[in-house]
Assembly symmetry: C2
Homo-oligomer: 196 residues x 2
DNA sequence: TGCCAAATAGCACGACCGGTCGTAAACTGC
DNA sequence: GCAGTTTACGACCGGTCGTGCTATTTGGCA
């Protein structure tokens, strides 16, 4: 890897941490440059625009999400074990060391929901893809006979997403000590209601 | 009402609309002044600081939430009907005419979850209060014999909040046409599992 | 070792930010 | 209709923002 590419990676890594705490708009080129120890113009030479940098950050985040959540869950046996593993790793993602401020997608979702543009499009695309992965895992569990045949996979994915959103909310904002117990109990109930 | 108080109300009303779209930080004194048709300095004379203005906006939003969601639900009979009414009005709140960008608390939650200060404190306080109202409604439903005795009211409130968060997410960000059907089906299942 | 390209820094710009201040206009009670 | 207060204005401050343009330094290869 060339020196430029290495620097670029350092910048995006730092920007990703900032974005998890302050959101994509919280990334300021000046502060980011100070964080990685270089000049604002030197940093800016690596990107066409701030928007391009934000897109790179989102892409890096989704690549990391695949590493931390999707890939490990795919190692598990098809059916309910894999569904459970996805959920477990999703909870891990929220407190992952590389994201001091929590899930960067949650922050970006609130920022971008009324702001059309490439960043919003990319975010929606990845969220949709993740929901599809969740629904597909549920469908596999149906085919494996673990879940009942009339279960709606898309609805099941929606319910999973909702619970994780509630968990993030309770943990990050409300500092609720019962957040983890609540989300686990609720998820267990959801899986139980999905069983054949 | 004096002229000053009327102007102040107009400002807060406009700021509330902006905040629902762009968040509390999206309120800029200059743009806000332009929106209500007055000078920046003339507007600023009504508030001690921008942070004070943000607090006023949050307070106005919570007062409106009580009007739109809490009060109407309290008219319903105790027990399950009231629980259902709270949920229904909560969905109405998200698409309320005075909030073109959706629930202002959702936006503020994402902005403030890592930013300590009076605004965050106020938001947490109101969210906690609302969760308490939800839990209390569930407890009343237990006492009325509508819900089973071993139901955990706090968990039930958490599950409701989660579903609404999922609904907002699916509707605002993903433009999911099934968002409303999903959230209603999921809520019906939740209530069914809570029944005695 | 010298050269060329890649990488970084310096500097300036226009725009916008929250906030201050002195002053003028408009309202209100007598 | 006058006096005093409330309300609003315009000019301006220091600061930060994203983003050009140009110069300087650095690093790999002949």
């Amino acid at each position: 890897m060339s020196k430029g590419a290495a620097t670029r990676d350092r910048i995006i890594e730092s920007a990703l941490r900032t974005a998890s705490v302050e959101g994509l708009e919280g990334i300021s080129l000046g502060r980011l440059a100070a964080d990685v120890g270089m000049s604002k113009s030197g940093l800016f030479a690596h990107f066409a625009s701030k928007e391009a940098l934000q897109l790179d950050v989102l892409e890096a985040a989704s690549a990391r999400f695949v590493d931390v959540v999707v890939q490990p869950a795919m190692q598990e046996p098809r059916g309910e074990p894999r569904v459970r593993s996805m959920f477990e790793h999703w909870l891990v993602w929220e407190r992952h060391e590389s994201l001091p401020g929590g899930c960067v997608f949650m922050h970006a979702a609130a920022e971008l929901d009324d702001r059309p543009g490439p960043a919003r499009d990319a975010l929606v695309h990845w969220q949709q893809q993740w929901l599809d992965v969740l629904a597909k895992a549920a469908r596999i569990a149906i085919d494996a006979g673990h879940f009942r045949a009339d279960l709606d996979p898309a609805l099941f994915a929606f319910q999973q997403l909702s619970l994780v959103l509630g968990y993030y909310h309770a943990r990050r904002l409300l500092n609720d000590a019962h957040a983890e117990a609540h989300v686990r109990t609720a998820f267990d109930a959801l899986v139980a209601s999905a069983r054949a």
